[in-house]
Each structure stands twice: as C-alpha cells, then as structure tokens.
C-alpha cells in the first residue's frame, strides 16, 4: 500500500448502467493494529471545498458495503491494517477531469486508552494527544481524475 492514508490506487469515478454516478477512493488504517467495524468513527469528507457528511459516505470492505450506522453494531468484521477500505460517494456526474483536493477525517475507539481521550474523540479533529502509532484523524491528498 502507499505511504499516504488516502491512496491513489482506487481513486476514480464510478459508473452504474453506463452513467457516472459518483466517485470512490481508498484509505488505509493508520493504526498499529486492526479494528472491528464498531470501533470506527467515520467523519467528514471534503473534496475541493464541497463537504460530504458521514451519511453520504459508504464504507466497503472486501466487496461489502456498510453505512456508518450499520458499522456501529458490527463487532465481527475486522479491518486489518494491511488492506485498504474503499469509500464510495454518490455524486451525479462524478468528479471533473483534473486535480482534486481530498480531505477525510476518521478515527476509532481504543478502550484501553484513558476516558479523557476516548470521550473527546472527534474524527474531524486531531486527538488531544497525538500518537504516531495511532495516525492522524484527518488526512489530505491531491489526486487526479482522468
């Protein structure tokens, strides 16, 4: 996988029945260990200043789609650090040809960390104590649509 959290591989517009209906991109988990889906706290996606709330982003693991609500109760599926997840967004016409600035926030709970940190987890803001092995909550990358 690429060093960056937001991958170039997998960044493309998505087509359904011959029409461009949205776009997708992949992220890797910047944690030192994998997590169960119920630990995930998805946040906000911003593309070129346009925001998409967590209601508008579908997470896909190994071909299976999940809304953020569905993930809150799924503690059986494990997301490994060695495989990226695919994020899918509906947008009529997809993204235009050219550069796009993506910023995406997501984090996860870690029950062995002190409550003061757990209680203030915000996917769209960095943790009150940054630990490199936990990675950043918010990541950005400038990528191209052909």
């Amino acid at each position: 996988m690429e060093r960056q959290v937001i991958q170039s591989v997998g960044f493309r517009n998505t087509v359904e029945d011959g029409k461009v209906t949205g776009f997708q991109f992949k992220v890797r988990l910047p944690y030192y260990r994998g997590i169960f889906l119920s630990q995930l706290r998805p946040g906000t996606l911003t593309v070129d200043g346009e925001t998409f709330s967590k209601d508008e982003v579908i997470w896909n693991f190994d071909g299976e789609d999940f809304t953020w609500e569905e993930m809150t109760t799924n503690y059986k599926l494990h997301w490994a650090v060695t495989k990226p997840a695919t994020l899918k967004v509906k947008k009529e016409g997809g993204l235009a040809q050219g550069f796009h600035d993506l910023t995406y926030g997501f984090c996860f709970t870690s029950s062995y960390m002190p409550p003061i940190i757990q209680d203030h987890l915000d996917p769209d803001q960095e943790s009150m104590v940054f630990m490199p092995e936990f990675g950043h909550h918010v990541n950005s990358r400038r990528l191209l649509i052909v």
């Binding site: 690429e2 060093r3 997998g10 493309r12 990528l143 191209l144």
Partner: protein
C-alpha cells in the same frame, strides 16, 4: 479519404517500476491503470511471477485481473538474449529456444505484440551483427504463436538512423514477414532536455526524429511507447511534439496501442535515497495520470 485511426490508450507497467514490489503489487498496478480509464497495458516478462515458468494459479490470477479491470494485454516486453553465458557463443538455435519460450508466454497471456530488445553494439543501438540469422529462424514460431516482434526505436536513435532502413526495414522486406516491426518510442521526437534532466542528457538533441517521419513506419507498428519525462500542471509534455505525432497517426489510419511510459527525473533518483523514494510514491502515479489526461484529450476518449 482513408479511414481515421482509432488507437487504444494504455500504460506500460514499467512506469511504476520503482514502486512495484515495494508499495505496489501487480494487483495495485492493474487497478491504478484502470482508474485512468486506459484500456490496455504492457507487461515485462520480469513481472511474470515464476518467469519463465509461471504457475497456473498465477496465470489464472493474471487473467482475472485483466477481466476485473477491463484491460487488454497490448505488448509484452522481452529480451532476445544471445549472451547468456560465457565461453562459446549461443548458437542460433539456442537463441530461438529463448525466443520461443517468450512467444509461448505472450500467447498464453494474450499478447500479440512484443517489444523485443535486440543486442546492440553502441549508444545508437546499431544491432549486433548476426541478429538477422536467429530472428529469421524465430519467425515461424512467431507466426505459430501469433506474435509480432517489435524493435524499439528509442532516443538517441532516430527513424532516419541508417540501421533502421539498412538493417530492420531490409530484414522485413527481404523476408516479407509480418511478424517483425517497430515500437516507436516517442522519446525519439524529443527536441530538448527534460525538466530536471538537463545534466543527464541522452542526446545533444541536434539530430531528432521529425513527427512526419513516423508515417512510413506505421504499417510496421502495433504498439508504441508514448514516452514522457515531465507533465506540467496543465497536462502538457513540453519537450515532445505530442499533438503533431498523434494527429499524424490518426490521420494515417493507425489502430495500434499507445502505451504511456514515464521516464522522468524522479524515476532515476528514486533509488538514491528515502527522500527521493518518498517523492516517487507521490509523483509516479500523479505523472502517469497527468499523461493519461493529455492522451484522453488528444484522442477524445
């Protein structure tokens, strides 16, 4: 009025060389290329796991990737090795055995075009005498496996360098074969040093191929390397006359494979240290996508 050509837009996996096996698997390369909307690709024999004897499992996986990402095998890059051992030189038959092996693999993996590297004797790629003998002996096998060997015309060689006509065209006409031709690497049209490579010139750029020279060679080419060294922020290659060459190919009815080949400064520097490698991780996919944007806009698809 003859019919306009409809060449296919593709990428050679060689562009990702520095990242393959490190931050990119073969699966990743397939997907990254598919992301650009390209429809075909070039593979090198080196990327075949277990080469020269890939397992059926790998071959199945390779085909599943071609299907999943709708990518057509376009060209297989291989080498006509005739100096594989010290001591007695390889006989023609021994070289032909090597070539047959690659032809068979090309056929197995869906390739009809090959980028055949022939042993050269100088920087202009004048072929080593004797090449005609073993390549001619290999022709029946190329026909059997339905592949066309293509000699790559690569900077600083030009399309008017004497050996192109005296050796290669002469061979094609003498044998009458349709299984030998040319991959014209667009670097041959490059007329000034690439950005960031001013201190490592491969040519003095005094003698370069003019775009119109490609017309005579189109009937002998199935795939070309659309070489680029640096794409700017407006998706332009400033050192190679892309539009002129592509227009000529289309006007003259060429329907081959155009394979983006990135050979920019970062490709050479990536091995020098972690900072450069880190930059390559960003720049390589970005540069190939920029090139594909230019190609998509030039071709209209």
């Amino acid at each position: 009025m003859s019919k306009k050509g409809h060449p296919q837009r593709g990428v050679t996996f060689y562009s990702y060389l520095n990242l393959m096996g490190r931050t990119m698997t073969l699966d990743d390369v397939f997907e990254e290329v598919a992301d650009t909307g390209a429809t075909c690709f070039e593979l090198l024999t080196s990327y075949i796991e277990g080469y020269p004897n890939p397992s059926n499992k790998w071959i199945d996986h390779y085909w599943s990737l071609c299907e999943k990402y709708h990518l057509q095998p376009a060209e297989l890059g291989h080498w006509a090795e005739n100096h594989l051992r010290r001591g007695p030189a390889m006989s023609d038959d021994e070289v032909v055995e090597e070539l047959k092996q690659d032809f068979r693999l090309a056929n197995l993996l869906g390739f009809k075009a090959l980028r055949t590297k022939i042993t050269c004797v100088n920087v202009l790629c004048d072929p080593e005498p004797g090449w005609q003998s073993y390549i001619e002996k290999a022709l029946p096998y190329a026909e059997k496996y339905d592949v066309m060997m293509q000699n790559e015309v690569h900077l600083p060689t030009t399309l008017h360098t004497p050996h192109i006509r005296d050796e290669y065209l002469d061979f094609i006409h003498r044998t009458g074969t349709s299984h030998f031709g040319f991959n014209i690497d667009f670097g041959t049209f490059q007329y000034k040093p690439a950005k960031g490579m001013e201190d490592m010139p491969m040519s003095d750029f005094k003698d370069v191929t003019k775009p119109e020279e490609i017309v005579d060679f189109l009937p002998y080419s199935r795939a070309c390397h659309t070489k680029f060294t640096s794409m700017n922020e407006n998706f332009e290659e400033e050192t190679i006359p892309y539009k002129e060459v592509i227009d000529l190919m289309i006007e003259n009815g060429w329907n081959g494979y155009l394979l983006s080949e990135f050979e920019g400064t970062i490709r050479f520097k990536a091995e020098q240290g972690p900072e450069y490698f880190g930059r390559a991780m960003d720049e390589v996919p970005d540069q190939v996508r920029r090139h594909q944007i230019m190609m998509r806009n030039l071709l209209g698809y």
